[in-house]
């Protein structure tokens, strides 16, 4: 084991736990505002880290609107089988797709992901949704938009716009999916590499 905590890769925290929480609170309110309330809302998180973000958002929406049952409006949408780079990447086993009991037909589906980059994941997600039903509206919410789009796709709700160089890596670490090297709870967004 040669890896040390402070690897030679420069890493810089751009959002800490409080920043993430504030951004999600703001997005939750934006979603309610754009939808003029909570009617027909369905939040679909894209694995892995989009799903815990969707769950957090659902709870914030429920906190703002007591008529909402957070667990009833959130689901997970796996897009693995719809990716356009399957034959160029190591094989990835799919994650489960779980829709809320209400389904997605005629719903307002908000796709949730952690980082918006090329836009290809969202393209795959749109295809996946079409095979599952016909929502009335599909919107997109992301924690980070780092630019460098390769497709005509834009987010409706953005936690933070983060101008990056393409050699940099944006890492989102959430307590639901990640643990810090020392085993402690982690909620942060960091940029690795670059200058």
């Amino acid at each position: 084991m040669t890896a040390v905590t402070n690897a030679p890769v420069p890493a810089r925290v751009v959002l800490n736990q409080a920043d993430i929480d504030r951004a999600l609170t703001r997005i939750a309110h934006e979603i309610l505002e754009a939808n003029k309330g909570s009617k027909d809302l369905v939040l679909l998180g894209i694995p892995r880290r989009g799903y815990p973000l969707a769950v957090r958002l659902a709870h914030k929406i429920a906190a703002a609107d007591p008529t909402v049952d957070a667990t009833a409006i959130v689901g997970q949408l796996d897009v693995t089988m719809f990716r356009d780079d399957l034959s160029h990447q190591p094989t990835r086993p799919p994650y489960p797709t779980q829709l809320p009991r209400t389904g997605i037909d005629n719903k307002v589906v908000v796709l949730i992901d952690d980082v918006l980059y090329s836009g290809r994941t969202i393209r795959a997600a749109l295809d996946a949704i079409i095979d599952l039903g016909r929502p009335r509206i599909v919107r997109l919410a992301v924690l980070i938009d780092r630019g460098h789009r390769e497709l005509p796709i834009r987010a409706d709700h953005v936690g933070k716009n983060l101008p990056t160089s393409s050699v940099e890596k944006v890492r989102v670490r959430l307590e639901e999916t990640d643990t810090a090297a020392d085993g402690s709870v982690v909620n942060e967004v960091v940029i690795e590499g670059g200058a």
Binding site: D78, T80, M81, F82, L86, S87, H88, Q89, P90, T91, R92, P93, P94, Y95, P96, T97, D127, I130, D131, L132, G133
Partner: protein, 347 residues
């Protein structure tokens, strides 16, 4: 994983991976659009040297649900009438751009030959070879058992193995590729397997297998089982003196109505009855047993498509150009010839 040739060399991690992926594939069957685009533009060839409509259509459905192009190739060629050689057939398929070859062959080891030689570079899936293995059958059996076992335990089947499950496999083990594949896979998944057969239908060397062996089905049931898998028995085996008569066979080793009742009186209310099909009703399994609520025969067929989708997806979706560790170091002779015919000759 570049090929799926046998369960003997399938690791626990890969077995669980296939079963878990199959769970996700099963969900597709419940959707409005029962199709995924994952293998769009990929070509899957069903290369069948032995008739098996069931297995072929199961693979065909699996490939089509993943949007692959499917070519069915029913190759004539038995040990008696010799058609085109396996090598020439394989090279033909390679020239046609096959990405995966699903091969069913009467000769044990034929899929290994395809995988080990440079005749074709495609992923090879063994859809049953001689009396050797039938790995996707064992995987769909394990999938069926895992769902049952998890349900009894009240846990999710994703990620689960079969630790503690008692499985009896009864019938013509000697000639059964299903039995072989099941023994290895169930061992890997932690199940406790007992083979039940007349001594004539057990291979010499079975004592080295990771399972128990019994000649008595009633005793095996009485010791307690969670799944009983009945193997197909060919009545013709009688003519080669493997057993005296079909009547005596079904009395001693068939799953008849008495044994079905015995499950109840033994208090084995959750024991399932499995059969890989096609069934010989009245020989190795009675109609009442085959049609009872304990029977998983149709679930097995349904699960077969999911498991085969998982296998095709996992073998074909990855970057096949990455250096894959191939099982069984193949040492090939450099010499090749274009001659087409193959004959048997003693030295």
């Amino acid at each position: 994983m570049k090929h799926l040739l046998s369960t003997e060399d399938l690791s626990l991690a890969n077995a669980i991976r296939i079963l878990d992926t199959a769970e996700e594939m099963a969900a597709v069957g419940d959707r409005e659009v029962k199709k995924l685009p994952a293998l769009r533009g990929r070509t899957v060839v069903n290369l069948f040297f032995e008739d098996s409509t069931r297995t072929r259509i199961s693979f065909e459905a699996a490939a089509k649900r993943l949007s692959a192009d499917v070519i069915n190739f029913a190759a004539k060629g038995s040990s008696v009438s010799k058609g085109e050689s396996l090598k020439d057939t394989a090279q033909t398929l390679a020239a046609m751009g096959a990405d995966a070859v699903v091969i069913r062959h009467w000769a044990s080891g034929a899929p290994h030959r395809l995988a080990a030689t440079d005749w074709i570079d495609a992923a090879v899936i063994n859809a049953g070879d001689g009396t050797h293995e039938h790995p996707t059958q064992a995987l769909l059996d394990a999938f069926t058992m895992r769902r049952h076992w998890s349900k009894l335990a009240g846990t999710a089947s994703i990620g689960a193995d079969l630790k503690g499950m008692r499985v009896a496999i009864a019938g013509d083990v000697l000639h059964s590729r299903v039995a072989r594949s099941n023994v290895w896979l169930l061992r890997t998944l932690g199940a406790d397997v007992t083979l039940v057969a007349p001594p004539t239908l057990l291979p010499i060397g079975v004592e080295h297998w990771p399972c128990k062996v019994s000649y008595n089905l009633d005793e095996t049931l009485a010791r307690g089982v969670d799944a009983v898998m009945m193997l197909r028995v060919q009545g013709e085996r009688m003519n080669a003196s493997f057993f005296p008569s079909t009547r005596e066979y079904s009395r001693r080793w068939g799953f008849d109505d008495n044994r079905l009742r015995a499950l109840d009186s033994l208090g084995l209310k959750d024991t399932i009855i499995m059969h890989p099909g096609p069934m010989n009703r009245g020989l190795e399994i009675s109609a009442a047993a085959a049609d009872s609520p304990r029977s998983t025969v149709l679930a097995q067929v349904r699960n077969g498509v999911s498991v085969r989708m998982a296998a095709l997806y996992l073998l074909l979706s990855g970057d096949t150009r990455e250096p894959a560790a191939t099982a069984g170091a193949a040492r090939t002779n450099a010499a090749h010839s274009n001659a087409a015919h193959s004959t048997k000759e003693s030295n």
